[in-house]
């Protein structure tokens, strides 16, 4: 099982907004460059631990942040 989950977004603006919302909710999320095998976009994605996925999804949805995709991520893939 993947240790982390990454949320991909249609734009960095959404990723940053998402990161801020999670931070306000005390969920540790890391904004990082999008792994190339997931997308060719030049922006950032948001990585969280797998156990935070459901809560994070709820916060992002309520915050009107549009998620493009959710992927599992092994550490060696970052």
């Amino acid at each position: 099982m993947c240790e982390s989950i990454v949320f991909l977004f249609f734009s960095s603006s959404h990723a940053i907004r998402g990161g801020n919302l999670l931070q306000q909710a005390d969920i540790a999320g890391k904004l990082m460059p999008v792994p190339r095998h997931l997308s060719s976009d030049c922006g950032v994605c948001l990585r969280i631990t797998r156990d935070q996925q459901d809560k994070a999804l709820e916060i992002l949805t309520n915050g009107r942040v549009t998620i493009a995709a959710v992927h599992g991520l092994h550490e060696r893939q970052t």
Partner: protein, 383 residues
């Protein structure tokens, strides 16, 4: 020197604005959304914070629907050119700034029908007149919240009730009122709010934007500018989602850092208190000017119908001559002429000569007001 041209741009800026900008330039400086490194992310956070504070100030539900641009003129152009197409009908008022009228006249030349509803000679508007002009093909009502010339406030909330009921988007130009009085886009039923950062909001020039309400399908706004957005990069087509669709190219991030500081300062002071202070300054100036023989004040006599700018004429001096003497002899800085609003001047019957305009700001002191009034009295010859 007494600066009374805050309707052109506010000066000085609130405490913390320049510091925030210098801090951004020295500590961050990167381009948001153009890389995944820590400084690009930090720059992205700077922009996101600006969206959040602006959204909160205007009670907009979604910060991601706050799109930034160079100024309110750009925002109005994005909205007007984005929404209107040949055959559409748009309703506006007779006291609009050229930032509204010029794109409308351009669109009119391309087949958009424009109805200009006449305001009274004091600039006030009966909202029923807007509703009377609505037809089947009316696609937009576009109004400035207040005139940049004489400060008359239009009944935007009453018009919002009408447009929401009739299913027509309402675009409001808040250049003269943002930061000077409370604006609640939800309560006032404003669908598109165009704002500038450098006037009442106290931010630097080069900032402004368009807030798109959730009632508007943003995909119906054709982007006026296409370009790099740092997203959808595998495609050569403009992304359809907000804010990217309307934010091509690099934003004025250093400006947004300053705007954030300014808006936070306004939030701390409170818009109700700010409105009271500005109105107090305006009233003191207006009453003093009215007591001088040969001075005519234009606009409504009711304070609650006015925001900061005061347009006035001196019978014995042209506006340009008076403005020059006020600057040279007394160090009082104001704007004279048509104020980029021939429409407003035609309505208040001061076209083509124009008027003088005093626009005190939050930091205009009582002493400066008294000194100004004394100067005008000397200029007119009454003292």
């Amino acid at each position: 020197m007494i600066y009374l041209d805050n309707a052109s741009t506010s000066w000085p800026k609130p405490p913390g604005v320049s510091e925030a900008m210098v801090d951004f330039l020295n500590q961050t400086g990167a381009n948001p959304g153009r890389g995944g490194h820590r400084l690009a992310i930090e720059a992205g956070r700077t922009v996101d914070t600006a969206r959040q504070v602006v959204a909160e100030l205007f009670n907009a539900a979604d910060p991601l629907r706050v799109t930034f641009g160079h100024n309110v003129t750009a925002a109005l152009n994005f909205a007007l050119h984005g929404l209107l197409k040949p055959g559409d009908h748009v309703i506006t008022s007779s006291i609009e700034h050229n930032s509204m009228m010029r794109p409308l006249r351009e669109l009119e030349s391309r087949g958009v029908r424009v109805t200009v509803v006449a305001c009274h000679v004091d600039g006030t508007l009966d909202p029923q007149k807007i509703e009377d002009e609505i037809r089947a093909e009316t696609a937009l009502v576009a109004l400035n919240h207040a005139s940049n010339v004489m400060g008359t406030i239009l009944p935007v909330a009453e018009v919002g009730e009408v447009t929401r009921r009739r299913g027509i988007p309402l675009l409001v130009d808040a250049a003269t009122t943002a930061g000077a009085m409370p604006i609640d886009v939800e309560e006032m039923k404003i669908d598109l709010l165009a704002f500038t950062g450098h006037k009442g909001l106290g931010g630097p020039t080069g900032t402004g934007g368009l807030i798109i309400g959730e009632q508007i399908n943003h995909e119906t706004i054709r982007p006026l500018i296409q370009g790099g957005t740092g997203s959808y990069s595998e495609q050569e087509r403009q992304p359809a989602w907000l804010p990217d669709a309307l934010e091509s190219g690099t934003l004025n991030v250093v400006g947004l850092a300053g705007l954030t500081a300014a808006v936070k300062w306004i939030r701390n002071e409170g818009l109700v208190a700010i409105r009271k202070k500005l109105l107090s300054n305006r009233t003191r100036l207006t009453e003093g000017l009215q007591a001088i023989r040969g001075i005519t004040i234009h606009g409504s006599r009711q304070p609650e119908m006015q925001t900061t700018p005061i347009a006035f004429s001196i019978s014995s001096l042209s506006p340009s001559e008076a403005g020059c003497k006020l600057d040279d002899q007394f160090g009082i800085l104001c704007r004279v002429g048509l104020h980029c609003s021939p429409a407003a001047h035609k309505t208040i019957q001061t076209f083509p000569v124009g008027t003088l305009r005093f626009a005190p700001g939050l930091f205009t002191s009582d002493d400066e007001i008294e000194t100004t009034l004394s100067a005008v009295r000397q200029l007119v010859g009454g003292e």
